[in-house]
Assembly symmetry: C2
């Protein structure tokens, strides 16, 4: 269940002291022979782009979509760090490249953790050496461990498809709208695929999984999803590749939702009957990010009034007499009239909730996966220390 | 300091059992002789409009901007209540009108509290009778008390201007983006003013005060600001009227911010240097409503990285090398480079924080007043019971 379940890849995870707790904080994922292979990345659209994201984009452009390794650290996002941050991100690639015997442009870099503080390069330089020394064909779980920040469990996946495999590790809560300060994922595959196909498959995977997940509406400076394809399994059907990448991303996204900061509920919100898919997505996202709605989930309270209010405020085509809201099979608001179903308390007590909202205006639909807002979320985000 | 500080107005506030706690929950504000006078209203733009808002709009349209009284209840918002909710809102006006000897169209109605539950008319009918019996020229403070929901203190204001007075009562946390399920305000004045001037003055007042206040980004179904002008003080300069209305709204808005649900900080966020005022407002509002930023204020943590990240994610013209962020006089991020000022802890410990963000892209500016996100906010919004 990890990046090293795919033949021809090695990984490692070690602690080098970036995290004061002493937990693991440095990881490398690489091809087993350190030879560059086809690669692709999808990154945050936040304009306050972190230095490692800028370096990844530059390297993938220069190499026309090839890479031999990814170096990742947790405990510090190297974001909002100015010119020194760019120099440090480049230095991480150079140190890794020197250790592996490749050019720096064939190394990609990811950082996650606090924003606004310079990287402790005196710890990172020996950390990279130690991570290289630890690389092994069974190192995926250690790498997954080393990229955790507020995660409570490592996130890993292996998808076996028609003669090839996709493996992955990830950290964080959401893509494009992550929680702490980064969602990262690294996928590996032994499928033979061009860089162009990899980019397309990765975009498809991200769009239907990570991009439907929102914890708090905040879009990170560092979000990165990478894939490396070493081709050892030979050519595969493109449709199979896309399907396997989506399955891997879906699994990692669900692991993130169930481990989101302080959450006690994962909510699958589906909006149907909107005037368009775009309006459905707007209404779904606004509702998923509404503090009041999120608090009521925490309280296991099916307070449909707040949901109806968010739908009315979302700026989409709306007629309250056509609005229907249901938790799972329990209709709580039916074409403009409140319903008060019995036996709802047991449903609301579950870890996973399905919330279906039908606007009755057209054929637009959207899905969002989100979480509740809890005391523990406030605790985790009150301070940086 | 209330609506009855203005000559020629009476008010009352009593308890009729809508709130199970027994606290006051029914209020009336009226002209002393129950004669209709010029009036105006500004209402929520939420399309999930509550029944009392629809009835207010209808009555002001029918009467061409005149009213004799406002009846208000707390404990139940009469929102998302379907056809019965409309009938109940009309019935509240009819009962009040019968007691005062006016036509129902000269009564305006406001409700605040839980969404999605029918009004207990068996309690409201005798409550309206009792409120009418209690009307007095010193009843403003009782009315302010009776419209409280999660407010911990009543909100009242009196502004003395050039020969006339504006008085007001209010409840709730924010206009257009309120907290629980309604921000309400009723203003009175003895200035003589046409309904058209009253509408314009009220819109100006709301735009520069209540509409710059956001607690959690949720827009209520019931938000209502009303003004009644009995003309006893004679004609006034329109500019003076606007100034006094703005001053009254500003005072009530500040009282709301300082009493927002569970808040420990009031934050004055100013964005300058945006490409346009609209972009400044977008960036300011996104940042003010970011859960991560709000939690860091609660923790008294000047975590500028999150603020920079919100600016980068706001979809506005952005270049991090031109971005400067300061808490009061303390610069924490200076043209793309982090600064680490000393003596910031004492500043962050204050109840009121000034946060200034300069984007360095143009001349657009915006101001937002907001609050932090706390354990107490989660407590208050976990459930409806």
């Amino acid at each position: 269940m990890s990046v090293t379940d795919v033949g021809g890849f090695v990984a490692s995870g070690i602690g080098c002291g970036i995290k004061l707790s002493g937990e693991h904080d440095m990881a490398i994922v690489a091809t087993a022979d350190f030879a560059p292979v086809n690669a692709a990345g999808v990154f945050t659209s936040n304009k306050m782009t972190a230095a490692p994201v800028l370096v990844c984009r530059e390297h993938l452009a220069v190499t026309q979509g090839t890479a031999a390794a990814v170096v990742l650290n947790s405990g510090n996002a190297n974001a909002a760090t100015g010119k020194q941050g760019m120099a440090d991100a480049r230095r991480m690639c150079e140190l890794t490249a020197a250790g592996l015997g490749v050019v720096p442009q064939h190394v990609l870099v990811c950082s996650t953790g606090l924003i606004g503080y310079g990287l402790p390069m005196d710890k990172i330089a020996p950390g990279i050496s130690a991570a290289i020394a630890s690389l092994s064909a069974s190192g995926g779980p250690q790498a997954a461990q080393a990229i955790m920040t507020t995660d409570t469990v490592p996130k890993q996946v292996t998808i076996a498809s028609n003669g090839f495999t996709v493996g992955g590790i990830a950290k964080g809560a959401a893509m494009l709208e992550p929680n702490m300060a980064t969602m990262l994922a690294v996928l590996t595959t032994d499928a033979a695929s061009s860089s162009e196909e990899l980019v397309a498959a990765l975009r498809a995977g991200v769009a239907s999984t990570f991009n439907t997940l929102t914890v708090d509406g905040a879009e990170s400076t560092n979000d990165t999803v990478l894939i490396l394809a070493n081709g050892q399994a030979g050519a595969v059907a493109y449709a199979d590749l896309v399907e396997a990448v989506i399955a891997a991303c879906e699994s990692l996204a669900m692991q993130m939702a169930d481990d989101a900061e302080g959450s006690t509920k994962t909510v699958f919100l589906r909006v149907t009957g909107a005037a368009s898919d775009a309006e459905a997505a707007k209404a779904a996202r606004d509702t998923a990010n509404c503090q009041l709605v999120k608090c009521s989930w925490y309280g296991q309270d099916p307070y449909w009034g707040r949901i109806a209010s968010e739908m009315g405020a979302a700026g989409v085509a709306f007629d309250h007499t056509k609005l229907t809201i249901a938790y799972g099979p329990h209709v709580v608001y039916d074409h403009g009239e409140p319903a008060h179903p019995s036996e709802l308390a047991e449903y609301m007590a579950g870890r996973h909730l399905e919330l279906n909202v039908d606007l009755g205006m057209g054929n637009g639909t959207a899905r969002i996966i989100t979480t509740d807002l809890t005391h523990a979320y406030v605790d985790e985000n009150m301070g940086t220390s």
